[in-house]
Amino acid sequence: MNNHILQIIYLIGSLSFIVGLKMLSKPNTARKGNLVAAFGMAIAIIGTIFLYEGIKSSNYIWIFGGLIIGSILGTVSAKKVKMTQMPEMVSLFNGMGGACAMLISAVEFNHLKHKYLNEALPQGQMIIIMLGLIIGSISFVGSIVAWGKLSGRLGDKTLGIQQVINIGLLTLILGLAAYMIFWSPSENDLYFYSIWAISALYGVLFVMPIGGADMPVVISLLNSFTGVAAAMGGFLYDNKVMLVGGILVGSAGTILTVVMCKAMNRSLTNVLIGNFGGNNNANTTTAAGGTIREINTGDTAILLKYASKVIIVPGYGLAVAQAQHVCHELEELLENEGINVKYAIHPVAGRMPGHMNVLLAESNVSYDKLIEMENINPEFATTDVVLVVGANDVVNPAAKTDPSSPIYGMPILDVENAKSIIVMKRSMKAGYAGIENELFYQPKTSMLFGDAKNTLTKLIAEVKTL
């Protein structure tokens, strides 16, 4: 009887995941969709605790203890995290899921070993356990490395023959696993723990060389890996809600990864091999000969004050300087002067798609002021001043004009069509792609050096005095 009710609960849970994910992909239903999925998860968890057959009552204390600790830690860290650190937080949570799948495999392996003492382990179950272990470990360790890189704790590192090593390791993992499953050697413990260790190592080497700008793509990919690892539990326990939840994320995550790559006009292989930051010899010579024009905050304030239309192009510099609130303040100030102010949002500005939207929305910038690239591009021609705040590669004309540039083909914001362009930057350092930006040398462009927050604060003061 209990099991029958549990199966119905799992059915509702699975349905809520599908509906929730569907709603999450539309702007006006997204928030509800998240709640729908959370509801499905809640009933599936509660149902499992109370209705699953074979749960020993003496273990309830551990289950509830774990749930309570996890809930408190999860809620507090998710509530406390700053919007700028959102990407690494998602990565960290993803890693936790991967670790969970990995531990399940470890326990089930030991379980199976005791059940089939001195016999060959059943191949079907072993395939599932090993897949859960391998994918879970890669996802866990990879996510932790991605988290470390995004939060600046780890840098990009590439060994010269990285790709060869990675392919070698992966072959070794699969080879050992196949040998262990199909020829069942007597020392299967040794194999199991070696495969575990090598998978973890592979996780490190897989993420380490990938450039910071590509991190969102990798997190999305690792996210779908964890989905697949979770789905393995569906096989182990003949549990349909685990299978549905896991596989949905596995396949939707893979598609999302591809969509993200497309938004940057790059292929997935390109991202994974990580040649983005690698070939920085392409474009350095063409633009370096030009001269730049510096401007001070006073002159910028005058330009802004007498403009009738201003577009702000935010980038990672804005996020780093935590300048979103001052930026909003400046926007309101100009709006009150009767100036039309909009934000141009490049799909990959910042470190994550949608990063700028989240950041600016946090400082209460109205949603309809954030204009996506396709809609804002025709407007630059009628714009007096474009204020580029800490963005670089997304406004680099080389993406359109220079076929040898690593970012060639990436859609960019056509800021050069505006009457004048002011670029706020900390220094002349190249952007994430590691290439020069011709835009900075154009006669219409003026450079305003300094930290985005300080500069914007000064700018507000100057505009007020005019």
Binding site: N34, F93, Y237, I255
Partner: protein, 97 residues
């Protein structure tokens, strides 16, 4: 092997169908929603917690208890953290009146 496939044939059907459902669901997502969607999906794969609860509930020795307990904590972190973070992101998208 054959026996394994046969005894799990239902779930294999489900697996194949879900792959296609997942692909269909994500068609044409505005880029603004990429991050929240990824984060929401991240919370959904936290369903792995159910496996953790099962191994924890059935644990008979110390090792299984310790590993199971850690798995429950980590799985819960994934679920709760994932949904809360997604909600926080989406909260910011609401239109101002």
């Amino acid at each position: 092997m054959l026996e394994f496939i046969n005894s799990n044939i239902e779930i294999i059907y489900l697996l194949l169908l879900m792959i296609f459902v997942g692909i269909e669901l994500i068609e044409k997502v505005p880029s603004v929603l990429h991050t929240p969607l990824m984060s929401g999906a991240n919370a959904i794969h936290g369903v792995v917690i159910i496996g953790a609860i099962i191994i924890m509930g059935q644990a008979e020795n110390t090792l299984a208890t310790i590993l199971g307990f850690i798995a429950v904590v980590l799985g819960t972190l994934n679920v709760v953290g994932g949904f809360v973070v997604t909600d926080r992101m989406l909260e910011m998208f609401k239109k101002k009146k």
